[in-house]
Amino acid sequence: MPGLFLDKIEKRFGGVVAVRDVTLEVPHGRLVCFLGPSGCGKTTLLRMIAGLERPSRGRILLDGEDITDQPAHRRRFGMVFQSLALFPHLTVAENIAYSLRIRNVPAAERRRRSEELLELVRLPGYGGRGVSQLSGGQRQRVAIARALAIEPRLFLLDEPLSALDAKLREEMQLELRLLQQRLGITTILVTHDQREAMTMADWIVVMGTDNRVHQTGTPLEIYRRPADAFVAGFIGTSNLLPGRLGEDGRVTVGRVTLRVEALPAGALPGGAVTLSVRPEEIPVLPGETAGENHLPGRVTFVRDVGSSVEIHLDCGGMAIVSASTPKNRPALRQGDAATAVLPPAACVVLAA
């Protein structure tokens, strides 16, 4: 089996379960993201893959070879830590060439490799500097170059961008993703930032506070078809409406009955469900109009941040948020009567 394969991995610390029964595959050359809130076990899972933590149960296989008991220093997995963990007593070049020095690679070859890697992370000429003389973004690049110096079989990133400010973080996301694509290196990224995950990943693994995997899929699959209410709420923003499934396959939410296009497998008529509708899928019409899936209500707030407009509505006691571009901005003000339309195709029915 090519790539990395996790087989029923579980980790306990004393009586506390940190990772619960994870089985998944990371194909060659792809970037897979472990996404979840803090405490969901995503970092522990990454540390088990790196060999820094031993699974309590299950196996880790790389290209079919069982590496569960292989010590970290034999795995040749490059890792970038959240704290970066650059060696403070070494220069930038010495940090990058650390893995080469302990393998007794000759000095000339070490210099050539570290210059090459500095070029790759766009820091040419910085080799002689001390780590403390670098900015946050530069340190980030050095940590990446150091992890790449071992020519890793697997590249592991533990929230590597969390220390950077928002603007630099967005730039580094693109840069890191382009670098990964260029090198074709199999990568696992751990993050709690769904935007970062959607920007960078080929494949996202969503983990929840119950330390389980809730859904795996491509970013858009997960965004459009969340598997449950947790995923729908965690990835982007969503209107989550509690409802009941009727005999006719319609969903009753509050006093309105809505038509939906798809139902989850095994949904029973009469059962409680959660309806998830993304704000950008909801058009808002001025005034109270009747029609299929129309929810009449009143505008409670308009958040206009220039690049996008959010309209908050109170539709018979239900709070609904609609988002649109400034071009399509409906001419509505706080207090106006308005109707939210929930298109059947945009209504994702989730088990409650």
């Binding site: 970290a72 220093h73 040749r76 963990a85 060696f87 007593h89 220069t91 893995s99 393998r103 002689g128």
Partner: protein, 286 residues
């Protein structure tokens, strides 16, 4: 960063306090000692207030040079042993769960509370021919007959290290506890075995802390006075013993003061050199 200038009478008072402590307990006593070191000895009496360089001239005897060299060497040697043993010990201690660390630290501090007299006599009994550990080795078949290992150089080394070890651990504990646990992990992922990680990353990144510990334990050892007299032969007596001898038994206070001043000067010079050597960092060159 600019420190705020203290203002008002109260602020001046807070500065006065450390200055007064320094003056009363360090500057004045040292001043008296320095002054006495230039006075003339009065045989049968105390000293005469008369400027003279004779005491410093009388310092340079073969005995003084030998004892000075021995004092510096044994202090440095024991500091080296203590840090070599104490550094890995403290590192493993800081990796333990918090509660177990406290137990170990309490044990170490209780060792510090033992007086040097008790420590020295305990070692001299342990290393003696009649009741010492050599009897145990005879029982185990490692030795033919019990041996006397005290007094002697190694007995003195044992005693001095025993007293200095807890102190070494306490000096090394704060920097080691602050070490980013991800540093050794990063080294592991880069292919370093645990042993290579220990020497290249843990020792490497704490170089200045190690030098500081060496200097402090060295200075601590310099003051050893009782242990050499109990666990050492006369050739193992340190300068502190010689100074006491001169001051109390021969009533030559000026010569004793000159010895003490000279000893302090040499020690300070060595400490300063070590600190300068420790500050140079390969990564810090701008």
């Amino acid at each position: 960063m600019i420190a705020e200038r203290p203002q008002g009478a109260l602020a001046r008072l807070t500065l006065l306090y450390p200055a007064a402590v320094l003056l009363v307990f360090f500057v004045i006593p040292f001043g008296i000692m320095l002054a006495v070191s230039f006075f003339r000895r009065e045989p049968g009496g105390f000293y005469l207030v008369e400027f003279s360089l004779a005491n410093y001239g009388n310092l340079f005897t073969a005995l003084f040079a030998r004892v000075l060299a021995f004092s510096l060497l044994i202090s440095a040697f024991c500091a080296l042993l203590c840090v070599a043993a104490g550094f890995p010990f403290t590192y493993l201690l800081t990796r333990m769960p918090r509660r177990r660390q406290v137990v170990w630290l309490v044990i170490l501090v209780s060792v510090l509370s033992l007086s040097a007299v008790i420590v020295a006599f305990a070692w001299s009994i342990m290393l003696s021919q009649t009741a010492g550990v050599s009897n145990l080795f005879v029982r185990l078949g490692l030795l033919d007959r019990p041996q006397s290992w005290s007094p002697g150089f190694w007995a003195l080394t044992c005693g001095m290290c025993y007293v200095a070890f807890p102190y070494t651990v306490l000096v090394l504990y704060p920097p080691l506890a602050r070490l980013d646990p991800h540093l050794p992990e990063a080294a592991r992922t880069l292919g370093a075995s645990p042993l290579v990680t220990f020497f290249t990353v843990i020792v490497g990144s704490l170089r200045s802390a190690i030098v500081a510990a060496l200097v402090m334990v060295f200075a601590f050892n310099l003051g050893t006075y009782l242990i050499p007299q109990i666990l050492g032969k006369p050739q193992h007596w340190t300068l502190s013993v010689l100074i006491t001898d001169e001051a109390i038994y021969r009533s030559n206070l000026p010569l004793a003061a000159a010895m003490a001043v000279f000893f302090m000067g040499v020690s300070l010079a060595l400490v300063g050199m070590a600190m300068l050597g420790g500050r140079r960092r390969p990564g810090g060159a701008a």
